[in-house]
């Protein structure tokens, strides 16, 4: 920890004074879980030596820690549920790991249909709190162990974005702590707010590089009464994907339209010791719909079914019970876990929805060129494609990089971006230039300097 301008012992005792002895951890073996996220092992950055894990209990604690760190130029790495996929929370330099897990209170305001959640509460906690208050948090932006702070800092998306948007669409107010130690309150329990530059929107998606989010006002919705899941098998990818824009145009707005191919979804089912309920076709669409009554629901399903049938759907299967629907979702969300041990990297390139098929065909061309298996599936309604670079057939990391680059370029050429969901973190920095102009990056750098003059907060993430 040589580059700190402070004696390590003093730093530790100062931190202990702020949060209490118990909440400063210095022994490496008790911070193992904080040193990594869910990024696949081959590409995940390694945690540095010389780390201190600190667990504050309030925004004031956080302010105290940041002030101290800023004065001594000690890097601070805010972490949430560590479910990220681009190494965004990995502490890559000696410094402080800041975990807000103790700050996990959630209050639901039924009058305003909003929740006020501390950053360390998990997505699961929020879903539960909303449900208990008779309300509903519509998007499902990822792993339920993810924490609110992290979900906001990474503007998490997830599969229900088609109808309900991403994290940003739900945030009405934030309490943030600046790297220089000031606590700011942005927005509030407001549905409209045009007062000045909206710094809150900058904090959302900043990946912990501009500020530490400590609390959020989150918009909730009334519960949908009925929800159903459709699984629609198709013989070809093209049939499945050309159905998607037609559905979106029809006015029946599903929460989610997921595209999967039978090979990966069966793999995921096998991983969970289950059986995928629809064993037909090459490609399948999974759609979730919500509505006020079963009759309304079935009418919408009928409309969707006509569109699917006109695009040669083989069948339309309907899951109505909670158990069947959650089984389908569970298997779908485990494609990643099933593939993870054999994986080098997971990409989340995103293109205009109408270009998704072209992108997938490009990916096939790249796979053929390198003679590798590139499983791809994704949020078809959002044009967001997950492509996995697998170990099989990839001889070294340079080859993996070349494959990745080609996929990125294909996405950008189709009017897309290199990441639609997972963010930049550590892994996507060097490819930023594929999407952002020099000027754009320069403005980002200036903003970073204004917020964080000493570059202590999550350094070397998002920006080089």
């Amino acid at each position: 920890m040589g580059d700190f301008s402070v004696n390590l012992e003093n730093l530790i005792s100062d931190l202990r004074r702020i949060v209490g002895d118990k909440w400063v951890v210095t022994q490496r073996e008790f911070m193992e879980g904080y040193l990594r996220d869910e990024t696949p092992d081959p590409v995940r950055p390694r945690a540095a030596e010389g780390l201190i894990l600190v667990k504050p209990s309030s925004a004031e604690d956080v302010a105290g820690i940041l002030k101290l760190a800023n004065a001594n130029k000690v890097p601070v790495f805010p972490v949430g549920g560590r479910t990220g996929l681009v190494g965004g929370s990995v502490p890559i330099k000696p410094g402080i790991i800041l975990s807000l897990e103790r700050m996990n209170k959630i209050e639901v305001d039924r009058e305003n249909i909003m929740a006020v959640a501390e950053a360390g509460a998990t997505l699961g906690d929020l879903i539960k709190a909303a449900d208990e208050a008779g309300l509903f948090f519509p998007p499902h932006p990822g792993d339920e162990g993810a924490q609110i702070g992290g979900l906001i800092a990474t503007n998490a998306g997830g599969s229900r974005a088609v109808k309900y948007g991403v994290m940003r669409n739900y945030i009405r107010g934030l309490e943030i702590v600046l790297p220089t130690g000031e606590i700011l309150s942005l927005g509030g329990k407001l549905l409209k707010n045009n007062t000045g530059y909206d710094l809150m929107q900058l904090a959302i998606g900043c990946e912990g590089t501009l500020c530490v989010i400590t609390k959020a006002v989150i918009r909730l919705f009334p519960k949908s009464k009925v929800m159903v899941t459709l699984v629609v098998p198709f013989n070809t990818r093209s049939d499945a994907l050309k159905t998607v824009p037609e559905i979106l145009r029809s006015g029946v707005m599903p929460l989610a339209i997921e595209y999967v191919q039978i090979r990966e979804i069966e793999e995921a089912a096998k991983h969970l010791n289950e059986r995928w309920p629809v064993q037909r076709g090459f490609a399948q669409l999974i759609m979730i719909l919500d509505g006020a009554s079963q009759e309304e629901m079935l009418l919408r399903c009928e409309e969707i079914s006509e569109i699917c049938e006109s695009n040669s759907a083989m069948d339309i299967m309907l899951a109505e019970t909670a158990e069947e629907q959650s089984r389908i979702l569970r298997i779908r969300s485990n494609i990643y876990t099933a593939l993870k041990p054999h994986m080098i990297d997971i990409l989340d390139v995103t293109v205009p929805p109408s270009n998704l098929e072209k992108l997938m065909n490009e990916v096939d061309v790249i796979a053929a060129k390198y003679d590798v298996y590139l499983p791809a599936y994704g949020h078809a309604g959002d044009g967001n494609l997950h492509v996995h670079i697998m170990k099989e057939g990839v001889t070294d990391m340079r080859m993996a990089d070349r494959i990745k680059s080609e996929i990125y370029k294909a996405a950008v050429a189709l009017g897309g971006v290199i990441t639609g969901e997972h963010g930049v973190g550590s892994l996507r920095i060097k490819d930023l230039g594929l999407v952002l102009s020099e000027k754009h990056i320069e403005i980002m750098e200036s903003i970073k300097r204004i917020f964080d003059p000493n570059n202590i907060l999550n350094p070397n993430k998002v920006l080089p």
């Binding site: 008790f30 193992e32 879980g33 897990e101 996990n104 162990g145 969970l272 569970r330 876990t337």
Partner: protein
């Protein structure tokens, strides 16, 4: 015969498989003894099988006043129809007030057939039994995943109930106890409509019998992490348990599930890591001797139901605990 049996107050079904008495039988004898004494009547057991003289005597040591033994090659393995016919005949003769059967798979297959044949009431899966002032059986069973309890009475005789395993206290064996074994005449039924073609040992984790359980709950992040639980369980000579979400997610087999819809357990030590303590889970483990809970959430109901608890991350505590126990084990060696 009807004379000497007229005082059979409580009859219990002594379950055996492969000639071995299922332990729920001794729990039935424990509770049955209490009920029979309060009624001032005999506690009887009915045992069907082949070559079970010793086992019949054991039932007396464990509290039966009388054992009705149906010993015949045709009864060696469980045949619902044969068992039912012999038992129904016995019940019609001895007319017990109360007839208890273990709520095992065998018991739960057999009891309803007997009840339907006798046109009497049957209460499933009781966790407690009592007598009202008139000496009628009050049957207590959980409903709605253990969230509520129901008291049930039966207006026909015998009052029949199946009783959940690992809930009632086993009676204490006393080899000095005396009682009568009544050899019953077995009417061989040639064709019952069912024939056992094969018998395979089902070697599964028997969590009900475990003395130490290291249980995992929703706090576990990925199925691979269950390896830590296995490691700790192995170190302690225990078994890995699980709450329902992990079983539903397919991360671990149902034989590991503890709870209302899984197994009831009664270990000496139950360690719950990352289990919030839903009523459905608590139902299955609340009879444990010592409960130690580790949970991040200080408001988790589990903590109130534990003897010792730690507010903390299982991912920090569990590896450390493994480490400490290793140290102890090494010193021993």
């Amino acid at each position: 015969m009807s004379d000497e049996c007229s005082f059979c107050g409580v009859l219990i079904f002594a379950e055996q498989e492969d000639g071995e008495i299922h332990k729920v039988t001794y729990e039935l004898l424990g509770k049955g003894r209490v009920l029979a004494d309060r009624l001032g009547k005999n506690l009887c057991a009915v045992l069907l099988g082949y070559g079970l003289d010793d086992e019949a005597r054991e039932l007396i040591y464990y509290g039966a006043d009388k054992v009705f033994l149906f010993d015949h090659p045709s009864l060696k393995d469980f045949d619902i129809v044969r068992y039912k016919q012999n038992i129904v005949r016995l019940v019609n003769e001895v007319k017990p007030d109360i007839f208890l059967i273990g709520a095992t798979r065998i018991g739960r297959s057999l009891a309803p057939r007997i009840a339907a044949s006798l046109k009497t009431g049957l209460t499933a899966d009781c966790v407690d039994l009592d007598l009202d002032n008139e000496g009628n059986l009050v049957q207590i069973r959980p409903a709605f995943s253990g969230n509520i309890m129901a008291q049930i009475k039966t207006r026909t005789k015998p009052q029949m109930a199946t009783v959940r395993y690992k809930v009632m206290k086993m009676s204490i064996r006393d080899p000095a106890r005396r009682g009568g074994v009544v050899e019953m005449k077995v009417e061989p039924v040639k064709n019952t409509g069912m024939k056992i073609l094969e018998k395979e040992k089902a070697d599964e984790v028997n969590i009900s019998e475990a003395e130490i359980i290291v249980a995992a709950g929703r706090g576990v992040k990925s199925p691979e992490d269950l390896r830590l639980f296995k490691e700790l369980a192995d170190l302690l000579g225990g078994v890995v348990g699980s709450s329902r979400p992990l079983v539903d997610a397919g991360w671990i087999g149902k034989e590991h599930q503890v709870g209302f819809s899984g197994n009831t357990v009664k270990p000496r030590v139950y360690m719950a890591f990352g289990i919030s303590g839903s009523p459905q889970h608590l139902f299955g483990m609340r009879y444990s001797d010592i409960i130690i809970a580790v949970n991040k959430d200080p408001t988790a109901p589990m903590l109130n139901f534990s003897d010792y608890y730690v507010i903390g991350d299982l991912y920090e505590i569990l590896p450390q605990l493994i480490h400490e126990i290793r140290k102890v084990r090494c010193v021993e060696k």
